[in-house]
Symmetry: C3
Subunit: 272 residues, 3 copies
């Protein structure tokens, strides 16, 4: 599936320039899909496949689909060139039950192209974490890992975060997701109102060599806007609801008021 | 339509055990569908029919569909074995207009299998309420009733709630819905922030013989989580948005962080 | 496409009477569609086409569809008799880039039947605004304009609002949209909680000859309810999510508790 020409390509240029096209190494968008049907999934892909890279079937939802339907859905997503993977919590359950290897084998059968390794809910020994990453890589999966606890009172220290990122990448992870949950509230870099906490953000970034390895879970529009205004159109963003893909892409390109305003000559926005 | 085997059935067991399969008498899920098209409805049913029992077309929305389309939609839902019914407010309008009998007859023509009897907005004499329940039963409908006023200042006393529940069941109601509205805020057992008020919950339960007769309207994820952690995977929950069915089922089974955490060995969740 | 008869037409009358049918000059509903696929769009139209008049593809999202898919989508919407137009911000980008004429020509090629002229983000000289309205009219578009700044600190004076409304109508605009954004918070007539500010509303209305020329962006249910209770079932409302069309129509007709309560005999709502 190739991106098709748009009606306005030769009329309007993106106000926020530099948005990367596929295949791209930055500016990745990860969707959280809590159970769309096949035809709805196809409709979204036909409108927005060029604007999404990772497609997550979150939590243990892959266990809840019938075999035939899940196979078809994953095959559809792969036909559009996406990486598809189950939620990290599902692998955490496999860890708890001592079933990591059969779990990974089954993910292969389903057709998933990637897996997420996390310890948002369970405790996970760093050596075991690295071993799982390598097991997944050995089976041909791309690996994303996630940093962060789902419960606010279990917040990691920055030293822990930096060490985990380095170790994950060394073990073969491609990307590191910074936890934001489906809500974007009181978790990761977000405060109780969903606003980015400056010092949290700065401290995480202080120990990261290449910020493009990070994917920020940013389910709320204000969070997406904030990341784009800080880091530009090619920041990696995750936990995007499927129906928000075009709206997010418009934000990335300055084609929406919230980011267009940053492209105005300094005085222009203030006058009338 | 039979539930299909999943890919992970023989690899992972539900962390929160005991989730009832269909046909089930507890663990019911009721969806609120504000107007999905046929193909979208079918897509959701194909992914999630095993996880939903009642399908509500809320308020007076059944009046707003064309005849042919509504017939097809209700037939589709019945083909998947669901009970389908119009919102309680619609019957309240029929009461106000003295049209209960023709209303029930027309519901039969549509193909609805159940009706909801409520007085969330109108005043309704208890004898008239019982009469309507019996009229509906006589026409072959399953009957659910709803307890609770939509306006916070009209809150019922617990004696009123307990009497209404007993009388409804005696008159032939199968289930009693506890009002939570579409929002889950400042209504029924919820406070202004959508949190469950302990004393309200306790008082309602104090007068109820079999809590499995109650369906809790719980539109917010935090509310679903709270009910599952209190009462287990087979609590009856209602006003679930159609796109949340797999996410709710994952919650019920401990396949999502919010309920998985309750399945960890006591110390495990705290350590890293 | 003609409206089909409903099952309850001869059984129930609308509690809130007087809802206008199509073709109508008041009671218009404008949808904000952030990227629905074709089959989902068709499903919504088959259930709700009688309850929607304007269909907006907001911000610059029209730039992000493939040509073929966008053509098909707009043609589908037109087949149901709707006016279809791109978000006002998209035209603002064209203004910034000095590309208004080619932009309008391209909108014609796409099949859009209307355009929105706004200055929610950019500054726009009133003469230039009137010139764009006339350019659009000359190309056969219906024109809606929008009044209001997206940023709270740029709020217009009421004299500015009244002059802009008069000038827009004189230049050929059919309707004036009062900015409410997708959120309905801290913008236009809404305060930080999304509630209507009485004095803002009164001051806007004080200078408007025919309130039916105004379309109020009212994305939240409480806002829709408030407008219907103030101005009746035929108030013009915009930025309605596509999945809310039946719910909104039920509100307009008193077929939902929030507006049904206003139709009760005075004492009735209070008693039990």
């Amino acid at each position: 599936v190739h991106p098709e020409k748009g009606f306005f390509d030769d009329v309007i240029v993106d106000p926020l320039p530099g948005r990367a096209a596929k295949p791209r190494q930055a500016g990745l968008t990860m969707v959280i899909d809590k159970g769309l049907g096949l035809s709805e999934t196809e409709g979204i892909l036909l409108t927005a496949h060029a604007y999404v890279d990772y497609w997550k079937l979150p939590f243990g939802t892959p266990a809840l689909y019938g075999r035939g339907y899940l196979s078809q859905k994953v095959a559809l997503l792969r036909r559009f060139g996406l990486d598809v993977y189950p939620g990290g919590t599902f692998l955490e359950v496999a860890v708890l039950q001592g079933r990591v290897e059969p779990f990974l084998d089954r993910c292969r059968e389903v057709g998933f192209t990637a897996v997420e390794v996390s310890d948002g809910t369970i405790p996970l020994d760093p050596r075991e974490r690295r071993r799982i990453i390598r097991e997944a890589r050995n089976r041909g999966f791309r690996v994303v890992t996630e940093i962060g606890k789902k419960e606010a009172h279990l917040r990691l220290t920055h030293a822990q975060i930096h060490r985990a990122i380095e170790e994950d990448l060394a073990a073969g992870a491609e990307r590191i997701i910074v936890e934001g949950r489906e809500s974007g509230v009181a978790v990761g870099v977000y405060d109780e109102a969903g606003a980015i906490q400056e010092d949290e953000l700065a401290k995480i970034l202080s120990g990261v060599k290449d910020p493009a390895t990070l994917i920020w879970e940013a389910p709320q529009k204000s969070q997406q806007e904030d990341f784009i205004l800080r880091f530009g159109p090619n920041v990696n963003l995750g936990n995007i609801p499927p129906g928000e893909l075009l709206a997010l892409e418009a934000l990335r390109r300055g084609l929406r008021g919230d980011t267009l305003k940053a492209c105005l000559p300094k005085a222009a926005g203030e006058a009338r």
